[in-house]
């Protein structure tokens, strides 16, 4: 029986399976797990892990990640947000009188990399009709040069696909143990929903890799996470 974090990691791994180079930010154990799973499956994937205490991949300092993304060398990035809305706008600054750390590199990375939005908490507090502050816009008018943008939104309840031609999310699947009606009630924005499937759980081979070499690889950078999921 897969744990919730294992399901999310497997799902993300399938979404980014064509990647050659992925950047994973700080405080991103689930995306990091997805990347290590792809590696363990034998895919030649370069993973640039930011804020690693060891194995810093850069020689040019903290600007290098952005230069790399600006050169088009990063296939996928991951973003969350205090608030996300139906236009795939991301808010990392303020909401309801509360101040959050800030936008980090989101206003640039969202433009230069295909982006998986990940938010474990799926609630009307997070998925709002309209964000209070746009740290990074979900889409741009046609004259704005933009190579990247949202591909999918993964939450603890569901998978949404971003539809760029419609500028709207489509509910693709609901995770085991959750329902489409529950998702509708927990989501503060409008989205399309045709035939909604159930998110495929991790396969036995995927679980074996996750609980073996992947757990070891993740344990060094995310010891708390590894302990919570795999011990």
């Amino acid at each position: 029986m897969a744990r919730a974090q294992e399901l999310l990691a497997c799902l993300i791994a399938r979404l980014i399976a064509d990647a050659r180079h992925v950047a994973v930010g700080a405080a991103s154990p689930i995306p990091a797990t997805a990347c290590e799973l792809l590696r363990a499956q034998g895919r030649p994937l370069r993973i640039t892990r930011l804020h690693k205490r060891h194995g810093n991949p850069f020689s040019e300092g903290s600007r290098e990640l952005f230069d790399l993304a600006g050169q088009g060398r990063i296939d996928y990035f991951f973003l969350g947000g205090a608030q996300l809305d139906g236009d795939a706008n991301i808010n990392l600054v303020r909401a309801a009188g509360r101040r959050f750390p800030g936008s980090f590199g989101s206003a640039f990375m969202y433009f230069t990399c295909r982006t998986i939005l990940l938010r474990e908490e799926h609630s009307p507090r997070v998925l709002v009709p309209r964000v209070e502050f746009v740290s990074a816009p979900g889409w741009s008018p046609p004259d704005v040069v933009r190579r990247g943008g949202p591909v999918a939104l993964v939450t603890g309840k569901a998978l949404f696909r971003w539809q760029p031609e419609k500028r709207r999310f489509r509910l693709e699947s609901v995770h085991p143990g959750h329902t489409a009606a529950e998702v509708r009630e927990a989501t503060g924005f409008e989205y399309d929903a045709g035939t909604v499937g159930e998110t495929a759980p991790p396969t036995a081979p995927e679980l074996e890799l996750l609980r073996g070499p992947v757990a070891v690889a993740i344990g060094s950078d995310y010891p708390e996470f590894a302990r919570r999921v795999w011990s």
Partner: protein, 246 residues
Amino acid sequence: MDAVRALIRRKITGLKLLGVPVLGLCADLLIGAGCVSEVHSSAVSLGEAGLAPRFTDAAERADITVVDYTCPAVHTALQATEKGVPYMPLRGVLGSDLVGAHADWQVAQNPFAGGADPILLVAAIAPDVALFHARWADEAGNVWVGRRRELATIAHAARHTYVTVEEFRAGDMLEDELLAPGVIGSTYVSGTARAERGAWPLGVAGVYGIDDTHLAMYAKAARTREGFEQYLREFVWQERKSSLPA
């Protein structure tokens, strides 16, 4: 960190901080101690230790002015000064609410494009002071920062650069081909001072690591004004015996 604690002891006020590209414990201490009027940064947080509590409180009460950036815009603004030009372009960012809050960012048309191609222009920033901690300074007045090349950019862009260092070395690091790529040349350095373990509770790559236990303790204590004041009494107002005087 030692330099920041010394600034607090001198009761400095009215500071305008620029995070390159983010701010952390140093900023939280200065803000909590009443030294800061304005914060310019793409984020302020304690990393794995969570939110920066004094920053969060001051921002929510509007005790400080906060100007929000996105990381590459900070680098770009400093790189413009480094190049001696009034502004540099940056892709992305258009359509973000960050743009409207910046009088020093403009949207222009790419003059080399065939058709419409709007692009962000970021005005150069020239800080008064660059302040950081590094591993080595030498007799020739150079400092070594290794791969932290954003520190070189700040030093090139700032009017004055002050560096505390773990250790002084004899000679001239620019004479060593292996050390030279990590050097900031003496041209850019206004002054240096020795501060052994001067980054604590943060770390210096290759010398000592981050003191996570201390950071977690600070994050918890500083959630309240009383807890923060107690932290200052214990760790800031008293100079540590292992530091040289500021």
